[in-house]
């Protein structure tokens, strides 16, 4: 009898597949493991964690408790925010902010014209947001609209007066400058015999167009479609803060680049002038210059410039001088080889700077540039010197209103101002980090 040779599979004593890994001990994974690794890895760490958590809890809780939990949200006057009237310990008095909201945002801007400010803000956002997002197309057109057309439109809306004249003035000046430039080029070309009549024609044409535009403005022909003028004295609140900060920020970069290049120039007069401007401006406090421009200038001048113009010019020159030094720091970090390489390629000075040096230098100093912008944004409070209430000035005036004077009014106002300033500065800071990371292609690890 033979064993039936049943077809049996060969018996294997090794595993066919890998054993499922056992889960790690509970103390090493999940929230507990993370906490052990990052928060309580040593007694000192544990102590610091506990202390830090306590401080964070205290700060955050105090803020939340004051601004939300104990806060009063509605009311008609100070009675709504008094402990004994409400029957509990009162936190932030938000009705004060609602009541003064128009003041904080627009200052003394006339009530029936405030839509003009809103419209300006909406147009600014519509133009600025696509400019800030890299993937949106038509950047060049967008930039022309924002930096070229928008300022004139904003002037139209915010200040008022004739709607067409400001455009004509700007176009006229551009045409006049271009015309003169072309004529000079023609005259210079005549010297070496390369002059073409086309340049002469275009130059004369541009000049004529410019002069015609100026004549039209003078004639008062387009005074008709006009918005009522709102004097800059009536501007205030966040509007002033944003106008001053935006103009300062936009003007600072070109002024700063020009001064930084001038300071490194080999031409002695330009170098001397740049150094003189930078050092003079940095050596004098902004507050002094504004004070002088506001209260001393009228002693010399028959009619002194508008207060807001004084502020804008002062702030632009100031931020430009500081910006120049920031950019110079970037220029100094560019190795000599880059300049020499550019020259070896036969690039002239503007191209060398524009294509090779400046992109690298600016990229290096983005944190410094944004630092200056944030500082400038908060320095706008100095306009109270020229008797204009910005956000903070309007708020301080609001504190004195006996209708709202209460023990918590002061804290509420500053909390509100703090939130607004923080929102703007935090946005600038985050956006700068975004740009930095995007441009940091050469050093990314």
């Amino acid at each position: 009898m033979t064993m039936p040779n049943a077809p049996t599979a060969p018996v294997s004593f090794t595993r066919g597949e890998i054993l499922q890994a056992a889960p790690p001990p509970a103390s090493l994974v999940g929230p507990i493991g993370w906490m052990r690794a990052n928060l309580f890895s040593s007694p000192l760490q544990a102590l610091l964690t506990v202390v830090g958590a306590y401080i964070a809890y205290k700060l955050v809780w105090t803020f939340v408790d004051f601004t939300i939990i104990r806060a009063v949200w509605t009311g008609a006057d100070r009675d709504a925010c008094l402990d004994e009237k409400v029957g509990r310990s009162v936190g932030a008095c938000w009705p004060f902010v609602w009541a003064k909201f128009g003041q904080f945002m627009y200052g003394f801007y006339p009530l029936d014209s405030r839509w003009r400010v809103d419209l300006t803000g909406i147009v600014a956002i519509v133009l600025l947001v696509p400019l800030l997002i890299p993937s949106v197309p038509h950047k060049a057109l967008n930039a022309v609209l924002f930096f070229g057309a928008f300022p004139i439109l904003a002037f139209n809306l915010l200040y008022g007066g004739s709607i067409i004249n400001p455009w004509l003035v700007v176009l006229g000046w551009i045409a006049i400058v271009a015309g003169i430039g072309l004529l000079v080029a023609y005259l210079m070309g005549r010297a070496d015999g390369s002059a073409s009549d086309a340049i002469l024609k275009y130059g004369a044409g541009a000049l004529a167009v410019g002069v015609a535009a100026m004549v039209l403005v003078r004639s008062g022909m387009f005074a008709a479609p006009a918005l009522p003028v709102v004097e800059t004295r009536q501007w205030g609140g966040l509007l002033v803060t944003l106008v001053v900060a935006t103009v300062g920020i936009v003007a600072a970069l070109p002024i700063g680049v020009a001064l930084a290049l001038g300071r490194r120039s080999k031409m002695p007069i330009i170098r001397f002038l740049s150094v003189a401007i930078i050092e003079l401006v940095r050596g004098v406090p902004l507050i002094t210059v504004l004070f002088f421009a506001t209260y001393m200038l009228p002693l010399f001048l028959e009619r002194s410039p508008d207060a807001m113009v004084r502020v804008l010019v002062g702030v632009s020159v100031f931020s430009g001088a500081y910006m120049a030094e920031t950019i110079r720091g970037g220029l100094q970090a560019i190795p000599k080889g880059q300049f020499e390489g550019a020259m070896a390629l036969g690039l002239n000075y503007p191209r060398m700077m524009g294509l090779i040096v400046m992109p690298q230098a600016l990229k290096l100093v983005i944190p410094g540039i944004v630092n200056a912008f944030i500082g400038l944004f908060k320095d706008t409070t100095l306009v109270s010197i020229v008797a204009i209430f910005d956000l903070l000035g309007g708020m301080r005036a609001g504190f004195t209103d006996p209708q709202w004077a209460s023990p918590v009014t002061l804290y509420t106002g500053f909390a509100f101002a703090g939130i607004i300033y923080f929102a703007f500065c935090y946005f600038m800071s985050r956006y700068s980090i975004f740009v930095e990371n995007r441009l940091n292609t050469g050093r990314r690890r």
Binding site: G102, F291, P298, A387, A405
Partner: protein
């Protein structure tokens, strides 16, 4: 834009402009105001009851109403005035430089300001003085009972010096607790850091409403310093000085003669010669000032007499609740006194 461009051109031609300004004949403040169509008035950056913007953005207060009275007298329109909110340190420079036409900013009249700063005080529209605020529970009826008290006071002010003088003169002991700003000072007093809070009396009332329970506190009757507050003009234009001065006097006179917004039309029919002279029915004092004949009518119609302005802004019915005190008329036990209009 045109304005900005011309402004830049002006700035560039600073030297030229200065020469031109010197060459021009001095024009009077009144003519300038009439040409530009409004009075530029320097006010405070916020002082309850005196000058402060309300929630709608309109300036209100005693000092503000004085400027409106000037505008009413000149233009017959109290809205033809623009306000420059000035800080305490900029105010006199702003006036000297012509940035404002008149300074109506709770400024104390002192000999130094009147002489070496080149200014003229046109009158006193509020007699202020330093006072004390205490808790009612302290059971003190007079400042002389404050021996040994701790006093909350703002540092670097004349207030601090005045209080030291007062306690030394009266041989009382006190313990000063000093702070940098008015807001900190009143907060500390509210928190119980000291027994007494001291500042100018008008300020005491304004600060009192910031306390958690204003009714538990009282202002003591003693006033320990003189702070006459009034509108200021710069030297060199006597006509304008007269206008500002007599605008104030007109408001006092109107109160004295019982001419108010409400009964103005009746008063215009009055046969009382004093009233007739004041309202321009007899004599021509307005035109002698460079204004119109009915200048007082304009002031009273648009702004009111002194009592109306006082009651509206700081009087007992307002939140400040200040009684007339020294600011009552001379014939009612106060100091407000106007020379006769005749």
């Amino acid at each position: 834009m045109k304005r900005i461009v011309s402004t830049l051109a002006l700035g560039a031609a600073l030297g030229l402009g200065a020469t031109a300004a010197l060459a021009q004949a001095p024009s009077t403040t009144l003519r300038n105001i009439q040409n530009k169509g409004f009075v530029q008035c320097g006010v405070s950056q916020g002082l309850a009851g005196f000058s402060q913007p309300d929630s709608a953005g309109n300036w209100t207060g005693l000092d503000v109403d004085f400027c409106r009275a000037l505008a009413a007298a000149i233009f017959n329109d109290p809205s033809k005035v623009r306000f420059s909110p000035l800080s305490a340190k900029d105010r006199f420079t702003a006036l000297q430089s012509g940035e404002v036409d008149v300074l109506s900013r709770n400024s104390t009249w002192t000999i130094q300001r009147d002489t070496s700063l080149g200014l003229n005080f046109a009158g006193i529209n509020y007699y202020d003085g330093q006072g004390f605020l205490v808790r009612k529970s302290l059971n003190v009826k007079s400042a002389r009972e404050l021996s040994g008290a701790s006093v909350c006071v703002q540092t670097g002010t004349t207030t601090e010096l005045n209080v030291a003088d007062f306690f030394r003169t009266n041989n009382l002991k006190f313990e000063p607790v000093v702070f940098a700003t008015a807001d900190e000072t009143i907060k500390a007093y509210d928190a119980g850091r000291c027994d007494v809070f001291t500042t100018d009396a008008s300020g005491l009332y304004a600060e009192r409403v910031k306390l958690a329970k204003p009714d538990d506190h009282m202002v003591l009757p003693e006033i320990i310093s003189k702070e006459p507050l009034g509108p200021v003009v710069r030297h060199g234009d006597d006509q304008w000085f007269d206008i500002v001065k007599w605008t104030h006097f007109a408001m006092i006179t109107a109160e004295e003669l019982n001419i108010s917004k409400a009964n103005l039309d009746q008063m215009l029919q009055s046969t009382n010669p004093e009233i007739r002279r004041t309202l321009g029915a007899e004599g021509n004092f307005g035109e002698a000032l460079g204004l119109s004949r009915d200048w007082v009518v304009r002031i009273v119609r648009h702004v009111g007499n002194y009592a109306e302005v006082f009651d509206r802004n700081v009087g007992p019915s307002t939140r400040l609740g200040i009684s007339r005190g020294l600011n009552a008329l001379w014939n009612k036990g106060g100091l407000q006194y106007a020379p006769p209009i005749r």
